[in-house]
């Protein structure tokens, strides 16, 4: 084969091109499974968004069903649900970003200070542990605490204090806090590790110099660590702006246990789309909400990426 290749280099254009195709053909074979997967999993469904503009009739399929223009969207936005699910999705994302990052940065800075290697590793491993669990498991964990009849909080904390138990899965005023708490609990290990890896990357020289100048720990953190974390924070911020229309389906579906009285504070776009599709078989509403999410999400991601690029081109997605 190498002989062929050597010969090709000295020959005219035609045979060279022929042999070249033969050489690169295997690469197309390598890309093929991935390409097929993308077509099946990502690109065909993209054409499926036409469902949102059709009056879907199962016998005719997507292509046979009649168009109905923006009717499905009109129904969606005429309902009060559209506003509530959009509001919930956006507000929770903002709260998650703020709470999650403040806690993660605090832990990252403190864990970096821990001198004992063993302790450091144990802390890090334990704090990351919840991240490895599925939301189904987390809902079981939460149930052991929150269940009205057998939950730890009602039975072992509130009742011994002489207080009445709370019907956690029915009373919505607690849920913004519960959801934010659980989301931070599960995700903080992940962001902590990202920040820790940035902190470890900061040159010790800065701290040496600050110490010689008489700066204390707090001043070092305030004047060296935090400013040098700024690029990471800003990149994460812009990227999460791009994701602000997406919600973690598992969190919002599993945690409130589908409790109707909590819908107004727990239902997000993804949960609404799932319920409209699977529980009510309402293709019109669910596909309209789904396309609404995809298109606004697309605009936000492209916009956010433009910003990242201007700020820190290495962190841009494309």
């Amino acid at each position: 084969m190498s002989g062929n290749k050597g010969a090709a280099l000295t020959l005219g254009k035609k045979p060279k091109r022929k042999i070249r195709w033969k050489r690169i053909f295997p690469f197309y074979l390598m890309a093929l499974p991935g390409l097929i997967y993308m077509l099946v999993n990502n690109y065909l469904p993209m054409f499926g968004i036409t469902i949102a503009f059709k009056k879907l009739n199962f016998r005719e399929g997507i292509f046979g069903s009649p168009w109905c223009g923006f009717d499905n969207f009109k129904f969606l936005f005429a309902s009060s649900d559209a506003w509530i699910i959009t509001r919930n999705t956006i507000l929770y994302n903002i709260a998650f970003f703020l709470a999650g990052n403040i806690v993660a940065i605090t832990i990252a800075i403190l864990i970096n200070e821990v001198q004992r290697k063993k302790a450091k590793k144990v802390y890090q491993s334990l704090i990351l542990l919840p991240y490895l669990m599925s939301w189904v498991i987390v809902s079981y964990l939460a149930f052991t605490f929150l269940s009205a009849e057998t939950g730890m909080i009602n039975k072992s904390i509130l009742q011994p204090l002489g207080r009445e138990g709370v019907n956690w899965y029915q009373e919505k005023q607690y849920w913004p806090f519960i959801l934010i708490f659980v989301n931070v609990w599960k995700g903080v290990g992940y962001s902590m590790i990202i920040y820790l890896s940035s902190i470890v990357g900061i040159s010790v020289d800065y701290y040496e110099a600050a110490r010689i100048d008489g700066a204390g720990k707090w001043q070092q953190i305030k004047n060296i660590t935090l400013p040098l974390l700024k690029p990471t924070i800003i990149t994460l911020f812009i990227l999460s702006v791009g994701q602000i229309f997406r919600s973690d389906f598992g969190l919002f579906y599993q945690m409130p246990r589908n409790s109707g009285s909590l819908y107004s504070v727990t239902r997000t776009l993804d949960v609404y789309i799932y319920q409209a599709l699977m529980k009510n078989n309402d293709y019109a509403m669910s596909s309209a909400a789904s396309v609404y999410q995809s298109i606004v999400g697309f605009v936000l991601i492209v916009g956010a990426n433009k910003l990242v690029k201007r700020y820190d081109s290495n962190s841009a997605l494309f």
Binding site: M30, P45, I51, Y123, L132, Y140, F145, M152, I194, F249
Partner: protein, 297 residues
């Protein structure tokens, strides 16, 4: 000769980190203790870290029901292994292909890959396509294909690793020795990429192990019950409880077989046990996966 500030910092760091570590751990301990609690005691007194009556009944129940639970366990393992292996193969092959700058068309493929991160058809269209065109309902494909097999982040991670960490001279040398491109990929590139393969493999494996959504979308009790994984069983128990809670007045007509509370906790414990057992050994790769993928997610 340790200064006062040093001691204060250490104390504060250990206190705060210890508190968060404890908060992360306690729910798991409560779950496990709950699974060993006597069901009658738990119903009367609630779950507690220090139950007065312990019992192995929940695990005896699981042993008796091993037909269902054991089968689900086997399914979980099969789906995780098959899914992860095929995911690694498809991801690395595709990543290696799009590295080839001199091959026409690879730029288009890279763009197609990145575009999947920006725009997607959403649940409705994906569900419709898989059910009506690929007929995955109640087949094992439903647990392996949708959304899990190849994602753009992993491909980019692997591609970056190939570009930055595999010396091109090695590939050239193998080529001069007459190795085929597939031979080079499997005998030169893959063995050198074990760290990144371990990293994405572990993350992907975890995703398959933890997946309940595909089961919920594409499997039905009657047609796909034999394909249930542990997570799907746990999710179904949840669905049934929720249905009961929502229709507490109408439960008379509903025929739902509900495992007792402690049994549910025991099934959940059995479901997370493998993760808890292997986690300490693979912790390094999890951390690496997060650091590498970090900002991009």
């Amino acid at each position: 000769m340790k200064s006062r500030e040093y001691r204060v910092t250490q104390l504060l760091a250990h206190l705060v980190c210890g508190l968060f570590a404890l908060m992360a751990l306690l729910p798991f301990i409560l779950l496990i203790v709950a699974s060993f609690t006597d069901n009658g005691w738990a119903t009367a007194n609630g779950f507690s870290f220090f139950p007065k009556e312990w019992s192995l009944d929940a695990y005896r129940y699981i042993a008796v029901q091993w037909d269902t639970i054991g089968r689900a366990y086997v399914m979980t393992i099969v789906v995780t292994l098959v899914g992860t292996a095929s995911s690694i193969l498809v991801t690395t092959l595709f990543a290696y292909a799009i590295c080839q700058k001199d091959v026409p068309g690879m730029k288009v493929l890279s763009f197609m890959l990145i575009f999947t991160m920006l725009f997607n058809g959403g649940l409705v269209a994906t569900y419709y396509t898989y059910v009506n065109y690929f007929h995955v309902r109640n087949t094992i494909w439903a647990l392996i294909l949708p959304n899990l097999m190849m994602n753009a982040f992993n491909v980019i991670l692997v591609r970056n690793y190939f570009v930055n960490s595999i010396p091109y001279s090695l590939i050239e040398a193998a080529r001069l020795d007459g190795a085929s491109e597939f031979g080079i990929f499997f005998k030169v590139v893959m063995p050198l990429s074990l760290p990144i393969i371990a990293t994405i493999g572990l993350m992907t494996g975890l995703m398959y192990w933890n997946d309940w959504q595909n089961g919920m979308y594409y499997l039905t009790e009657r047609g796909g019950g034999h394909l249930y994984t542990i997570q799907i069983i746990l999710n179904n128990i949840n669905e049934n409880i929720n249905a009961l809670l929502q229709n507490s007045s109408a439960t008379g007509g509903m025929n739902i077989k509900m495992p007792s509370t402690t049994v549910r906790m025991a099934i959940a414990t059995v479901g997370i046990l493998p993760i808890l057992v292997i986690y300490p050994f693979f912790q390094k790769y999890f951390v690496k996966g997060i650091t590498l993928g970090g900002v991009k997610e």
